[in-house]
C-alpha cells in the first residue's frame, strides 16, 4: 500500500492544468514578453485610490482579513440594490466557481456548458467528478436555448453561461437572459459569469432579483477594476445559496489589501468610466490592425477581441506561436470552429504598436 492514499476521484484526474502562466512562458523562452495581451488583464491598471488603499493597508498585513468582508459586501449590496445576505466576496471568480461546484456537484452529476467556454470551470467540474455536457456555440455566441434544452435532457444541476462570453467577446442582452430563466428546468441553477460585464453595452448585465433562487451571478475586480493580482471577486445569489458557501469556504481566505483595494476601486466610478473608454478605443485599434492585415475582428463586449485568422485552427495556432515568439503574449480558443481566431487583450497604445509590428510578420511566418 503506497502512501498517501488518494481518493478514487483524484486518482482519475489528469495532471494537466487549465492555463500556463505568462511568467512560465517567459522563463521557457528566456525573455520577457514585449506586450502582455493574453490573459485579459487590465493593463491600464486599477484606480489610483485602490493602489493607495492597498499600500496603506500593507501596514496592517499582520492582521487576518475580515472573514465576512463586511465593508465591501455592504457597499456592493447597496450599489446593486440587493440585501447584504445576497453577496459573497471570495478569492476571485475562480475560487467562487470551485466552491459553487463543490456545493452542487458530486460524482456523475450533470453540468452543461458551451464547448470552448471557460476551461477553469470545466476543471472544477472534473475535479468534483461531475459529468460535463457541452453544446456548440451558435455563430460565435453561447447558445442559451441549446444550453437549457441540454440541461433538460441530462437533468443538469448547473448551467454555465458567461455573458459577455470569453473567449469570443460576444454577448446577449440581460433581458434575454432573464426571460430564459423561466425555461430553466426545475432543480437547475444558472451560473452567470459576468466577469466582463462592465465593458459591455448598457443592458447586458442581467437584471435579476437578489433573492432569485434560479441564478447566481459572479463578478470580479480582476478585469474592469484592474486587480487580477489581488484575487477578489463576488457572487450575487439568493441568501440561502450564499449561506451555504459558509459550510465549505475558506473563511479567512481573503487578503486585507484586496478587501480595501476593491472597496476603493468600486467607489471610483470616474476611473471605471475612463477604463471603459480606453478599452473601447483599444478594441477599435485591434480591429483596425486586424483589417490592415486582411483579418476580421469579431464584435466584442469585453476587454479583448477575437480576431478571425481566416483559416483553420492549425493556422491560427501557427499565428499565435509566431506572435509569442515575437514577444506578444496572446491566447486563443481551444475548440473548432472558434479556434480559427486568436484572442487579443486590449492594451495601451504602446502595446498595440507592438502588436501592429508583430502581426504582419507572424502571419507571413504562419503562411509559410
Amino acid at each position: 500500500m503506497d502512501t498517501p492514499r488518494y481518493t478514487d476521484l483524484v486518482q482519475s484526474l489528469p495532471a494537466n492544468v487549465p492555463f500556463v502562466g505568462p511568467e512560465e512562458q517567459e522563463r521557457a523562452r528566456g525573455a520577457p514578453f514585449a506586450a502582455r495581451l493574453g490573459a485579459n488583464e487590465n493593463i491600464f491598471g486599477p484606480s489610483p485610490s485602490a493602489i493607495a488603499a492597498m499600500r496603506a493597508e500593507a501596514d496592517n498585513v499582520w492582521k487576518y482579513g475580515d472573514p465576512s468582508s463586511h465593508d465591501l459586501r455592504i457597499a456592493l449590496a447597496k450599489a446593486m440594490n440587493v440585501a447584504a445576505e445576497s453577496i459573497l466576496v471570495g478569492e476571485g471568480i475562480d475560487g467562487l466557481l470551485g466552491n459553487l461546484v463543490r456545493l452542487l456537484i458530486g460524482p456523475g452529476d450533470a453540468v452543461v456548458t458551451s464547448d470552448g467556454a471557460y476551461p477553469t470551470f470545466n476543471y472544477h467540474v472534473a475535479g468534483f467528478g461531475g459529468a460535463l455536457h457541452k453544446v456548440p456555440y451558435r455563430e460565435d455566441h453561447e447558445d442559451l436555448g441549446a444550453l437549457i434544452a441540454r440541461a433538460q435532457d441530462v437533468d443538469a444541476k448547473l448551467i454555465y453561461l458567461a455573458n459577455p462570453d470569453n473567449p469570443m467577446g460576444s454577448w446577449h442582452s440581460g433581458a434575454d437572459i432573464v426571460a430564459a430563466l423561466d425555461h430553466l428546468p426545475e432543480g437547475c441553477l444558472l451560473l452567470l459569469d459576468e466577469a466582463y460585464v462592465e465593458f459591455a453595452p448598457e443592458g447586458t448585465a442581467a437584471p435579476v432579483a437578489g433573492d432569485d433562487p434560479r441564478v447566481i451571478r459572479m463578478r470580479t475586480f480582476s478585469k474592469a477594476y484592474g486587480m487580477a493580482g489581488a484575487r477578489i471577486g463576488y457572487a450575487i445569489g439568493a441568501p440561502d445559496l450564499i449561506r451555504n458557501f459558509d459550510k465549505i469556504r475558506n473563511h479567512f481566505g481573503m487578503s486585507r489589501m484586496a478587501q480595501v483595494g476593491a472597496l476603493a476601486a468600486f467607489r471610483d466610478v470616474e476611473w471605471l468610466a475612463d477604463i471603459q473608454a480606453k478599452v473601447a478605443v483599444a478594441r477599435n485599434t485591434i480591429a483596425r490592425i486586424a483589417a490592415e492585415n486582411g483579418l476580421a475582428a469579431l464584435p466584442s463586449a469585453t476587454n479583448f477581441v477575437a480576431v478571425d485568422c481566416g483559416r483553420d485552427g492549425d493556422f491560427a495556432r501557427a499565428v499565435l506561436a509566431a506572435l509569442v515568439a515575437r514577444g506578444v503574449f496572446v491566447r486563443m480558443p481551444f475548440v473548432a470552429p472558434q479556434d480559427r481566431c486568436i484572442r487579443i487583450s486590449c492594451g495601451r497604445p504602446e502595446d498595440m504598436e507592438v502588436l501592429a509590428r508583430a502581426l504582419p510578420e507572424a502571419l507571413a511566418e504562419a503562411r509559410g
Copy 2:
C-alpha cells in the same frame, strides 16, 4: 424540486463556522478592541522590506500572480535544502489544508487528530465527508503515540499533528517526530502543521527528507513573518504528492503582493530574529502577568501563551468573556481539560499593559 440541488454531503453539513472574526465581534460590541491578542497574529508586523515590496508591487496588481510562485518556491527550496518540486506555495495553511484533505479524504475515510486541536482542519475533514477520530491530549501535549495507535486501529489515511501545538503552545522535538514516522501505519500520511515552528526552540522543526512520502509539512507567512492578511503559506512534501495538488488547486489563486512580500520577508533573517526575541520577551511578560494574578502560564514554543485559570472551562469562559468586554480580544481552547485555559497572543508592551490592567478585573468578575 428546489433549486439549487446541493450534494447530500453539503446538505448534511452544519452551518456553523470555525471562528468568528474579531471585526465581527467589534461590530457586535460597537467598539474596537484595545488589544488584539486572540488570533496569534504577529502584532510586531512583517519586515519593512516585505511591506516595501508589497507597496511597490501594488503597481503591478493588474497582472495575475505567477501560478507556480516560482521565485518564492526556489528560495524556499534552497533554504530548506529540498528540490523545488517538493514545495507548494498556497493561500495560507488553511487553503493548503483544504486541498490536502480533498486529495485524500472522501466520505467515510478515517482521519485522526487530537481532541481540541485546530478546528479548521476538522472543518475541512467534515467538509469532504471524512470520519474524524480524536485522541485526548496528554499533559497538554498532543500525544503522538496515541495518534499513531488510533490511526492503526481505524485505518486512517491522514493524521494531523501541530508542532508546536495550538492552542496549548506545547511541543515535541523534531527528532521524536522523525522517529515516530517509522511507526506510522502503511498508507497513512502525517500532516505536520509547523505554523509556529519559527518561535520554537532549536530542534523543534522535524528534519524530514524532502522526498519522504510519509509526511507533509506546512508552514506559513502568517505568524513569525507577520503577514496573516496576505494569505500565503507553503507545504513541503514528496514531489509526487505536491504534483497531485496541481489536479485540484486554484492555480491562479495567489496574490502577487503576497508572493513578493513573502519572498522579501523570508530573506530578512535579521527581522525574524528580532521578532523571535520580542516574542520571547512577551511570553515572559504574559507569564509574569498571570503569576501576579495567581495564575499559571504554560510553557510555550509559539507566539501565544495558554494561561491556566485554575478552575473549569466555565470559569475560563467567564474570564474570557470579561476580558472581551474590556476590549481584550483573546480566545481559548474548546475542549476539556484544556479549556481551563485562556490563550493570549504575544503583543507589544502597550498590548501587554492593556492585558495587565484588564485581567484582575476580569478575574474578579468571573469569580463573581
